[in-house]
């Protein structure tokens, strides 16, 4: 992968936060479109992290730890999320509910026109809730441990490991489902990779198959706008790798 040389020096300055005004906007517009330069920016930040490490030595006083832990203890308790991937879902649901309540309270004593607006909003909110509910049911069905997966094969061939990645480039949305996967060794996990048409593989989620060999990765964090040449799966350390360290066990192609 090669970066665009005309941006090389400005990318370094951008990583330092030293670009302003039009120069900064030009680089940001280019970064929106160029995965190679985005990757280079990440590497430049890694280089600058090394420069930051050169300052290491002094340790903070003990009171800093006490101050931090005391501040954390005062923060509102965080609800235990059943699964991280549902976090966006909860936010949407709560946001809709809180907004509806606030509007209902605010408009309670207002004139009929405002009441009509509230009514329309509530209708709209109810429709959104319905849509969210249906989508949630769909995702739950795809990922539920109770779901029974059937793999259809020709003749009497035994079921083979299979993976299906559904990817929408413009919104960076990825849904990946796998079946008949063999278990991974201890302290290892499967890692899904988005292989762009240009540039290096992008990590797209870690997973371990269940007892039946089924697994799913739903909406992993991905940069937007990356054109996928294919997807691949490697076996990596449990914490994941930033680039593949083993030969892919499965590779696919767009379709």
């Amino acid at each position: 992968m090669s970066i665009h040389e005309q941006f090389a020096e400005d990318l370094s300055l951008y990583a330092l936060g030293a670009l302003e005004g039009e120069e900064r906007q030009v680089v940001e517009r280019h970064l929106d479109e160029c995965s190679a330069c985005r990757h280079e920016l990440e590497k430049l930040r890694g280089d600058l992290a090394r420069l930051a490490f050169s300052a290491s030595g002094p340790r903070p006083p003990a009171r800093s730890r006490e101050r931090l832990m005391a501040a954390i203890a005062k923060e509102p308790r965080r609800a235990q999320l059943p699964r991280a991937r549902w976090a966006w879902w909860n936010v949407l649901g709560w946001a809709a509910a809180v907004t509806a309540i606030l509007l209902a309270v605010l408009f309670k004593e207002q004139n009929s026109e405002l009441r009509q607006q509230v009514k329309e909003f509530e209708t709209s909110s109810a429709q959104q809730d319905q849509q969210l509910s249906e989508a949630k049911q769909l995702l739950t069905a795809l990922t539920s441990p109770e779901a029974v997966h059937f793999t259809l094969v020709a003749g009497k061939a035994p079921p083979q490991p299979q993976g299906k990645a559904i990817y929408v480039r413009s919104s960076a949305t990825l849904v990946f489902l796998a079946s008949n996967l063999p278990p991974v060794p201890p302290q290892k996990a499967y890692e899904l990779w988005l292989i762009p048409t240009t540039g290096e593989p992008i990590p797209a989620g870690l997973f371990k198959p269940d007892a039946r060999g089924a697994a799913a990765v739903i909406r992993p964090p991905l940069p937007t706008g990356v054109e996928a040449k294919t997807f691949a799966i490697t076996i990596e350390p449990e914490a994941g790798s930033s680039r593949p360290t083993s030969v892919p066990v499965m590779v696919g192609s767009g379709g």
Binding site: F53, P58, P60, R63, S64
Partner: protein, 182 residues
């Protein structure tokens, strides 16, 4: 932080994941590992222990409140913390509001420098590269990074052409990279 990370069982990714569900002990472990890095960087930028403590507090509170800002699949936690600490310290130095959304910052660094012995060797190498750099190049790079000066400000301060400063900064950064990826 030397040696701290090598004695613990949990990976950074595991601890960050635990923070998402409000595990204060996980936060305490990450603080033990990386508070010295964050504090040192802030102290180098600000030159004031009280101000550096404030940045330390701010960075770890950010991690506590928005652990999703760090994506363990796409970078190293110490690298991310160091860069965030530097950016916040520069913002404080220049008395401006935080400019960068932390979720936008991905720090790619290979190999991961969290291990004890490996960390010491890496630190030695980084300092050796800096010591071997031409003094004007090192000076331009450190003014940009630790003082937050723009290339124009450095050019004005040193009386040298803007293009020369840009080249010095980029060459200096790439020297650090080359030492780890020959």
């Amino acid at each position: 932080m030397t040696g701290a990370a090598s004695n613990v069982v949990s990976t950074d990714a595991t601890l960050v994941s635990a923070i998402r569900s409000g595990d204060e002990q996980a936060m305490a472990q990450l603080y033990e590992r990386y508070s010295a890095i964050v504090y040192s960087v802030a102290l180098r930028v600000l030159g004031d222990t009280a101000a550096a403590e404030d940045i330390l507090q701010e960075v770890f509170m950010q991690l506590w409140r928005t652990p999703g800002g760090f994506d363990s699949n796409r970078g190293s936690l110490p690298g991310w913390l160091a860069v965030i600490a530097r950016n916040r310290a520069i913002d404080s130095l220049r008395k401006r509001r935080a400019e960068t959304d932390i979720t936008d910052v991905v720090v790619s660094i290979e190999p991961d420098l969290a291990g004890g012995a490996e960390w010491s060797r890496a630190l030695e190498k980084i300092r050796s590269v800096l010591a071997g750099m031409p003094s004007l190049q090192r000076s331009a790079l450190e003014m940009a990074f630790f003082q937050g000066l723009t290339h124009s400000e450095i050019a004005e301060k040193t009386g040298e052409p803007l293009g020369t400063i840009k080249t010095r900064i980029r060459t200096g950064i790439l020297s650090l990279r080359k030492a780890f990826n020959p």
